[in-house]
Symmetry: C2
Subunit: 514 residues, 2 copies
C-alpha cells in the first residue's frame, strides 16, 4: 500500500470510529433504558436516541466517507485491512440506501413501541400494542424497500441481511425443513417415553440475592471480566454496552426456579465473552465487530447448553451450591440437577423452552414475521395466527397474549429478520462444540473441575478475535472444516436426551470426525 | 409578535432543544461514569464525551442559530419568551467565543483527570494528580481568555460566569469579608463554651441496606418523585441526570455515621426537587433551566440544614428510626439527635463540615483557585498552600493530601469558579427560608408531623418554576424583597447554636421582617 493509500486508510478508520462512538452511546442509552431509567423519562430518551441515530447515520453516509471508500485500492492491503474495507463498503452501500428521516423515525418509534409493548405485555392486552406493531411493520416494509438487492428473494431478506449477512429466507427454509422433521420425531419419542424427569428442584424458593451471588460467580468462572463489564437485572435479559471494555449483561430472577437465572446468565455471559473477546486494536472497525447474530448466538447457546446443561458441569456446580444456598439442595444429587436442567416439554414461552423444542418456537416466529413483512398477515390477526401456529408446531394451547404473541420484545424494537439467528446459533454452537472437543480433548473432565478456561481461550482465538474477517458461513468452515448443517445439533440432542428419557438409540451417536 | 417572528421563535426553541438533547446525553454518560461504568471503559467514555461536547458546541454556535437570535425583535414577546431570548443570546455569545477544539479537549481531559484524581485520592498521592491539574489549569486559563468580557475584573470572573451569571470575584470578596469575621467570632464562642455535644450517636454501626431504605423514605417524604428519578451510590454524592423527568441523585454510606448519608441524601434530594420542579413545557430552554448554581445550592442546603438539622425535623425523624434500625437508637432522645446533627467543630473535610465552619472551607478554595487561575500559585505548590490556609482559617493541621487538597472532585473536572456558589447557596437558603416561614406560618409544627409538602410547593412556585426568568440576584429580591446579604445566615446560626452550646446571646435573634 502506498503512503498515500495508507494515510487514506487511516482516515477511513478514524471516520468509522467516530460513527462507532455515536452508536456505542446509543447502546449505552438503550441499556440504561432497560435497567436504570425512571419510567417517566421515556419520551425524552426516545428523542435522544432518534437524534443519535440520525447523527450516526449522517456520518455513516457522508460523501467524504464514500469518496474515501472508492479511492482505496482492492487487494493491496493485508487480510485485516481487506476485511475492514470490504465490510465498510457493504455497510456504506446499505446505509446510503436509507434516508435519514426513516432512520430517525425508526429509532424514535422503537423506543416508544418498546414501552407500549412492556405495558401491553404486563396487562396481557394485545390491543394496546397493535397500533405500534402496525406502525413498526410499515416502517420495516419501507426499510426493506430501501435495502432490497438483486440477489435477494423477498423483502424479509433485506431486513435479515442486517443481522446475518448473506443469509436468505430460502436457505433458512432449506435448513429448517429437515430440522423440523427431526425435532418433531425427537419430541414424539420423548412424549412416548414412560420416563418422567422430576421438576421439584425448580420449585425451591431461594433468596434473589443468593441467586445473584451465584450467577455472578458462575459468570466469573466462565471468564467474564467484571473490570470490563457489568451484570444487572432487566425484564428481558440481554447483552448490551458498547465495546470490548464495557460489556453489560442482564439477567432476571424468579424466586423459585434458579435454573432460569442460571441459564439466562450463562447465555448472556456467553454473548459477553464474545464482545469482550473482540480485539482492542480493532475497536470501532468491522474487524473489531461480531460477524453476525447467528455466530453471536452460537456463543451464548454453547455456554448455556453445551456447557451449562452438561453432566460434567452439574457435577461441578452441584458442589458449589451450598456456598450460596446452604442446605436448600441437600436432597438432590448432581444427576438430579443435570436431569432437571434438561427436562424436555412443549411449552408456551420461548426463553423458557428446552433445547428440543426451542427451535420450533423460532420457526413459528420466522413464518409469522415473513407473513407480516410480505403483507400476507395483518398485525391485528397476529394473536390468532400465533395461537394456531403453537397448536400446529408444539401442540399447546395459548391461554393469553402475555404467554403468546406479547412474550418477545423484538418486533417492538423493529427486530424483524432476527429470530432465525437464534436457531442458526444453536446449529453453529453444536458444530463449534464438536470441533472444540476434538481439538481440546477431554472437556467434560475440565468442566467437572470448574475449569472453563481452555474452552474460553479456544473460542477467543477461533471465533472472537476474527471479528468480521470471514463471513459467518466461511468462519464456520474455517473453524470446523464443514458447512453448517442441522445434523450436529440433532446428534447432540439425541446423545443427551435418549439416555435421560430411556429412548432407544436412533444411532446418530458418532460425530463425522470420529 | 408577528406570525413570521412567531415561526422563527419556534425554530429557535427547536434548535435549543436539539442542543439540550446532546447535553442531556452527556449528563447521562457522566452519571453512568460515576455510578455504573466498569473501570476499564474510562478511555472510550472520555472519547464519547468529547465527541458529544463538540457536537453540542457545533450546534450551540451554528451560524443559523446566531442569525435567528439576531433577527428576533426585543421586547415584543411575553416574559417567558423574553427570558428565553435574552439567555439564549447570552449563551450563544459565550459559546461562540470558545473554539470547538478547546471544548472537546476540556471534555476529554476532564473525564481522564477525574479518574486520575480518584486514584490519587485513594493513594493520598498528589503527585499522581499534579500533571492533570496543571493541564486543567492551563485549559481553564485558555478558556478564561476566550470568555473574558469588559465588565469583568479578572480571568476567574470569566469562568465563574458559567455557574453564577453576573457574580464577580469582587462582589464575593465584599460578601465574604463580614461573613468570615462573623463566622470566626461564632467559632470562637463555640470553642470557648464549656458545653460539649456528644458524638456517640454517630458511632453506631448500622447496616448499609437499612440506611439506604431510610434515606430513600426520607427523600420520598420530601417529595422527590422516584417515577422521575433515581437514588444510587457514588464516591462523591451529586445530582445528575438530564431533565425534569430523569433526575438522578447519588449518596454515599458509612457504616457508622448515618448522619452522613442522611445529610448527603437530603442535600442531593433538595437539588433533585429543583430539577424535578422545572416546568415540562420549558424543557430544553432557559425557562426550563436552573438559574444559577448558587440558587441550586440554596435548594439543597435549605433541605439539608434549615429542614434536616432543625429541632422539629428530629422530633419527627426520631420516631421513624425504629422502622429502619430497630432498637439501635433506643438510648437516644430526639434532642440528642438534634444536637448531634448540629455539632460544630473545625475539621478537615468540606463535605463533612458543620454549618458554622462550612463557609470557611469555601473561602479557602475561593482564594486558592483565584490564585491558580491568575498564575499566582503553581499547581505543584497547591498542597502546601492548602495546608497553610487550613491552619489560618480553621486552625487545623492537614495530615495528608487525601484529607487535604485531594478531597474534592471539582478541579479535576475543570470546575473553577464553582466553589463560591456553595456559600451563595447557604446565604440564599437562609434568606429564602426566613421568607417561607413568614409566608407559610408554623413550618416547624408541619415538620414535626412529617409534613414537608407546603414548603416543597412554595419552593416549586417561588423558585423552581421560574427557570431563568430572573437573574439570581433579582430572583432573591422577587422572592424575599431584599438583596442577598450574610446577616440572615449568621442570625439563623446563632439562633440555633447559642442555646445548643450555652453561648450568651449576641442579640441577633429577630428577622428583619419581624
Amino acid at each position: 500500500m502506498s503512503a498515500h493509500d495508507s494515510e487514506r486508510y487511516g482516515e477511513l478508520i478514524s471516520k468509522l470510529r467516530d460513527v462507532h462512538l455515536l452508536e456505542s452511546t446509543s447502546e449505552l442509552l438503550s441499556w440504561d433504558q432497560e435497567t436504570m431509567m425512571p419510567p417517566a423519562a421515556v419520551d425524552h430518551r426516545a428523542n435522544q436516541l432518534a437524534l443519535l441515530a440520525s447523527l450516526a447515520h449522517e456520518r455513516a453516509t457522508a460523501k467524504e466517507l464514500g469518496d474515501l471508500l472508492e479511492s482505496l485500492p482492492e487487494n493491496m492491503l493485508d487480510a485485516c485491512q481487506d476485511a475492514n474495507l470490504r465490510e465498510a463498503r457493504r455497510s456504506f452501500a446499505r446505509s446510503t440506501r436509507l434516508d435519514a428521516k426513516l432512520v430517525s423515525e425508526i429509532a424514535e418509534t422503537s423506543s416508544r413501541a418498546q414501552h407500549a409493548w412492556a405495558a401491553a405485555r404486563q396487562d396481557s392486552d394485545f390491543a394496546q400494542f397493535q397500533p405500534w406493531l402496525e406502525k413498526m411493520v410499515k416502517l420495516m416494509q419501507l426499510k426493506a424497500d430501501c435495502l432490497y438487492e438483486d440477489d435477494m428473494g423477498c423483502a424479509w431478506d433485506a431486513l435479515a441481511e442486517e443481522f446475518e449477512p448473506g443469509m436468505r429466507a430460502q436457505n433458512l427454509a432449506n435448513l429448517f425443513a429437515p430440522l423440523r422433521t427431526d425435532l418433531c420425531k425427537l419430541l414424539d419419542d420423548i412424549r412416548g417415553s414412560s420416563r418422567q424427569i422430576e421438576s421439584t428442584v425448580t420449585k425451591i424458593k431461594l433468596p434473589i440475592s443468593s441467586q445473584e451471588n451465584m450467577v455472578r460467580a458462575i459468570s466469573e468462572q466462565m471468564g467474564f471480566d467484571f473490570n470490563r463489564g457489568r451484570l444487572d437485572r432487566s425484564a428481558h435479559p440481554f447483552c448490551g454496552g458498547s465495546h470490548y471494555a464495557d460489556v453489560r449483561i442482564t439477567t432476571r430472577f424468579s424466586g423459585d426456579n434458579f435454573l432460569d437465572a442460571l441459564g439466562s446468565t450463562m447465555h448472556e455471559a456467553g454473548h459477553g465473552l464474545y464482545e469482550q473477546g473482540l480485539l482492542a486494536e480493532h475497536l470501532g472497525t468491522p474487524m473489531g465487530t461480531a460477524v453476525s447474530l447467528g455466530i453471536h448466538e452460537s456463543q451464548s447457546r454453547l455456554w448455556e447448553n453445551q456447557v451449562g446443561r452438561s453432566e460434567a458441569f452439574w457435577l461441578w456446580c452441584h458442589a458449589q451450591l451450598p456456598k450460596f444456598f446452604g442446605e436448600a439442595f441437600s436432597d438432590f444429587t448432581a444427576p438430579d440437577l443435570y436431569a432437571a436442567s434438561n427436562r424436555a416439554e412443549a411449552s408456551l414461552i420461548r426463553v423458557e423452552a428446552d433445547e428440543s423444542t426451542y427451535n420450533l418456537h423460532i420457526m413459528i416466529r420466522f413464518d409469522l414475521e415473513m407473513a407480516l413483512i410480505a403483507g400476507d398477515l395483518s398485525p391485528e390477526d397476529l394473536p390468532s395466527a400465533w395461537n394456531e401456529a403453537y397448536c400446529e408446531y408444539l401442540d399447546v394451547e395459548v391461554p393469553d397474549d402475555r404467554q403468546g404473541c406479547l412474550q418477545d420484545v423484538h418486533w417492538s424494537c423493529g427486530l424483524f429478520g432476527y429470530f432465525p439467528t437464534y436457531t442458526l446459533g444453536n446449529l453453529y454452537a453444536a458444530q463449534f462444540y464438536d470441533q472444540a472437543c476434538q481439538e481440546l480433548g477431554d472437556l467434560p473432565t475440565s468442566f467437572q473441575n470448574g475449569e472453563f478456561h481452555s474452552l474460553k481461550t479456544w473460542l477467543n482465538e477461533k471465533v472472537h478475535a476474527q471479528g468480521m474477517r470471514y463471513s459467518a458461513g466461511d468462519l464456520c468452515r474455517e473453524v470446523t472444516g464443514r458447512s453448517l448443517d442441522s445434523q450436529g445439533l440433532i446428534r447432540y440432542l439425541r446423545r443427551k436426551l435418549e439416555p435421560l428419557y430411556g429412548i432407544p438409540s436412533l444411532g446418530v451417536d458418532s460425530s463425522p470426525g470420529d
